[in-house]
């Protein structure tokens, strides 16, 4: 297991997960969000090849109201 930050919360996850596997493990059900790892955008096309490492900071953002 490794420790990572997801949207500001520390979580323990399996080693060597990619983004697709992480999203599934975190039980995100709907689409319509975007992901950044360590403040760098990860496109949908890169989910499979992007492995999560110990200490990574993951942000998962979705649409909200804005001015």
């Amino acid at each position: 297991m490794i420790r990572v930050s997801v949207n500001g919360e520390i979580k323990e996850i399996e080693k060597d997960l990619n983004i697709t596997q992480l999203i599934k493990a975190l039980e995100y059900k709907t689409k319509g969000f975007a992901v950044a790892v360590n403040t760098t955008f990860v496109s949908l096309a890169s989910y499979e090849m992007t492995k999560i490492r110990e200490g990574d900071t993951i942000d998962i953002l979705a649409p909200v109201q804005g001015g």
């Binding site: 949207n7 500001g8 975190l26 039980e27 995100y28 059900k29 709907t30 689409k31 319509g32 969000f33 975007a34 992901v35 950044a36 403040t39 760098t40 955008f41 496109s43 949908l44 942000d59 998962i60 953002l61 979705a62 649409p63 909200v64 109201q65 804005g66 001015g67």
Partner: protein, 271 residues
């Protein structure tokens, strides 16, 4: 020609789209999603601003809100609100492009937390990178002419100076500065963003020759947001019509509008 015909014929282009409304509206702070939807529709706005925020697992990942916005059938302008560096803004823009399916981005890089003044250095830096990546950048900036020049130099076709501080409702603090930007950049699309508090502020902005106004709080925080949205629709149209009609030159002295020839009783009792 009727007034309505005038407005129907007044189309303009921005970011590769041809639009009729010159009002850009925000989607935040409304009493309810239904009220937001009604206000946006009544305003006639064809561009609505949206944002991205962290979403917990199990929530509908912003789906309900996004579905309402999509159902309106108007252009979406995602923002980078809350970013304090070029790096943060660039990442947010890239994420927004994937989520919202648009290359439009309202670039906001805040430089001061007290007055939410944009950071001109980071804004220019981010704009340059984003334009190279194919974004249509709508940069939020101050009314500083030199900053506007820098943004134009890195390729911005649109510039959005503030009227006054975000959410302040104080209107146009420096109309002379805004006019200077308008005169310096006749070819750019200029939109007043932030600080508009009442419909007359929007009219004033349009009378300066600005191409549009972007506002949120003035409508969403009104006692009746839907009615206020209608008021802003009319105000923006009035300001644009006034600009196109050509405002009269100010004069230093009084000048009667009623003919003086034939004035009755004139000097009748002079001794």
């Amino acid at each position: 020609m009727t007034k309505n015909m005038n407005m129907i014929n007044d189309t303009w282009e921005i970011g590769g789209k041809t639009l009729q409304s010159r009002l850009l509206i925000g989607s935040a702070l409304y009493p309810s999603p239904a009220n937001m939807s009604d206000a946006i529709q009544i305003s006639g706005a064809q561009i609505v601003t949206v944002a991205l925020r962290r979403q917990s697992a199990g929530e509908n990942a912003g789906g309900d809100f996004w579905n309402i916005i999509k159902s309106l059938g108007i252009e979406v302008l995602p923002n980078t609100a809350g970013c304090h560096s070029a790096k943060e803004a660039i990442t947010t823009a890239q994420m927004a492009r994937e989520v919202f399916g648009t290359n439009w981005i309202k670039l906001e890089v805040i430089g001061d937390q007290y007055n939410l003044q944009p950071d001109p250095f980071e804004t220019v830096k981010a704009a340059e990178v984003l334009i190279k990546e194919g974004f249509e950048v709508f940069p939020y900036t101050t009314d500083d002419l030199v900053v506007a020049k820098r943004l134009a130099n890195v390729g911005c076709k649109i510039i959005m100076p503030w009227g006054s501080m975000i959410g302040s409702g104080k209107g146009l603090m420096n109309p002379d500065n805004l006019l200077a930007i308008r005169k310096q950049f006749p070819e750019l699309k200029l939109i007043i963003d932030a600080g508009i508090g009442k419909p007359s502020h929007a009219t004033q902005a349009m009378e300066l020759g600005y191409d549009g106004v972007l506002l949120n709080s003035a409508i969403a925080l009104a006692h009746d947001p839907v009615k206020m949205a209608d008021a802003f629709r009319v105000a923006v149209e009035a300001g644009r019509l006034g600009y196109e009609a050509g405002v009269m030159q100010q004069r230093e002295f009084a000048s009667p509008s009623t003919p003086t020839i034939g004035t009755p009783f004139w000097h009748q009792f002079k001794d």
